[in-house]
């Protein structure tokens, strides 16, 4: 908690145009936003989104930014069957639509190259989104820093950004990828066909020359609980672990 960025001031609500929509998996899409002027953000931050109905009713949600700092804001949104806002994005929104945004927001769950490594990222499902921003930032700005992403998804086809992550893994720089598929067989050496558990994290960290200086865990709360317990059981001090959780 000593390397936090300066306080974020999210500013006022402002219009954003959906410039492009990219389907990533059956339930996950990215929305690339054109915002004037483009906001400066850090890897791991999120934006608030506001939608307004014809009668003035408004709904707000927070969505993590998946893109690397310095590039177009990419909000990656999973469609929740019982959701109010995510079905709008998936079923209604088209390129050219205007929404309102605020941000970037969040000064704790962020990674900057100056913080160094080794960095362990653990994401479950769409919890990988802010971690993807960190992985992309790492590739662009600090590829030598040791960073590994342990990414849990149900199946091989639900691995968001699978091709991009495999390409990052193949670069041979400081980045590495380990997949934990909960309802699928592992396809690559070193990947797993089970949920994240303490043994998996212990094995992963056993190969490291130094324990992680920073651990970022994001996902549904039960996932984060299990992953954090595994990290602490491996001997990582709690103060090195940052979490972002969603759901009940």
């Amino acid at each position: 908690m000593t390397t936090d960025a300066p306080p974020a001031t999210p500013g006022r609500w402002r219009p954003a145009t959906i410039a492009r929509i990219a389907p990533l998996t059956p339930h996950v899409r990215s929305f690339f936003l054109s915002i004037d002027p483009p906001p400066r953000f850090q890897a791991g931050q999120h934006m608030d989104v506001r939608l307004t109905a014809p009668d003035g009713y408004q709904a707000q949600r927070s969505y993590s930014i998946a893109s690397a700092p310095g590039s177009t804001v990419e909000l990656t949104i999973e469609r929740l069957a019982d959701g109010e806002v995510s079905p709008f994005f998936h079923d209604v929104a088209v390129a050219g639509d205007e929404i309102e945004v605020r941000g970037p927001i969040g000064g704790h769950f962020v990674w900057q190259p100056a913080m160094g490594g080794p960095v362990l990222l653990i994401g479950g499902g769409s919890g990988v989104v802010p971690l993807m921003s960190m992985a992309r930032h790492h590739a662009a700005a600090a590829p030598a820093v040791p960073m590994r992403l342990l990414f849990s998804a149900r199946t091989w086809d639900e691995v968001i950004w699978r091709d991009e992550l495999l390409a990052l893994d193949a670069r041979g720089d400081g980045f590495g990828l380990t997949l934990a598929l909960t309802r699928d067989a592992p396809r690559r050496p070193g990947d797993h066909g089970r949920r994240v558990d303490a043994a998996m994290v212990a094995d992963l960290l056993a190969g490291w020359p130094a324990p992680p200086a920073h651990v970022f865990v994001c996902g549904a709360n039960p996932f984060v609980g299990v992953a954090v317990d595994a990290v602490l059981a491996a001997g990582v001090p709690p103060r090195r672990v940052r979490t972002e959780r969603y759901g009940g």
Binding site: M1, D4, P7, A8, T9, P10, G11, R12, P15, R50, L51, T52, A53, P54, Y57, Q58, A59, Q60, R61, S62, E84, F88, V92, A93, D97, E98, I99, E100, R102, I105, G106, G107, H108, F109, N221, G225, V228, V231, L232, P238, R239, V241, R242, T243, R245, Y246, G247, G248
Partner: protein, 201 residues
């Protein structure tokens, strides 16, 4: 600015007046915290009341549990946009805590401190007069660790990050001193009905 094609899911008549702007009602109890959930052992837990840097009262878990109990059923509102209605808490009101310490509220501001180093600032006036408590039970049972157990602050009329989890002390201060999230862009006061989410609201 109307969003093309958005109709939304309005809260019912019964909830409309109770739901602050920008919030949605949930039946769940989501968990939000910046780091690992501390496993606090009650035999090691103490609660310290400080006036500035000076400790003026300290309780062990057993001593704290012997203080008078208060029940509050309140709506709670998280800055991440969810609200939950009619949450039932039991604990020690800040009024009773001051009474047990034999002091009156000495300074205009308070910092709540937690075992994991978290802190948050609240005006003292928002803690007294029956407005807040150190909660020990939720819904009739000890508070789960994920939700801040064994003891958390409850200041239900402010955004819920003010209700510090894993609390182990209150420190009265002369000046309003930003806590963990307040240093990271969140509002110093945090009134949900005035939508004071961020520092520039």
């Amino acid at each position: 600015m109307t969003t093309r094609g958005f109709t939304g899911r309005r809260p019912g008549q019964d909830t409309a007046g109770r739901l602050p702007p920008g919030q949605y009602l949930t039946q769940d109890f989501p968990v939000l915290s910046a780091g690992p959930t501390p496993r606090v052992r009650t035999e090691n837990w103490t609660f310290t009341l400080k006036v500035g840097p000076r400790p003026v009262a300290k309780w062990t878990w057993a001593e704290f549990g012997a203080l008078p109990r208060t029940r509050m059923t309140r709506d709670i509102h998280c800055v991440t946009k969810w609200s939950k209605f009619d949450t039932a808490w039991e604990g020690v009101s800040i009024d009773d805590l001051l009474l047990a310490a034999g002091i009156a509220a000495p300074m205009p501001y308070t910092l709540a401190h937690s075992v994991d180093g978290y802190s948050t600032n609240v005006p003292t006036a928002d803690l007294i007069g029956g407005k807040a408590m150190v909660a020990l039970a939720y819904d009739g049972a000890p508070i789960e660790a994920d939700h801040g157990g064994p003891a958390r602050l409850l200041v239900p009329h402010l955004y819920f990050w003010k209700s510090a989890k894993w609390i182990n002390g209150l420190q009265f201060t002369e000046r309003d001193t930003a806590g963990f999230w307040e240093l990271r862009g969140y509002h110093l006061y945090g009134d949900p009905f005035r939508e004071q989410r961020y520092s520039d609201d």
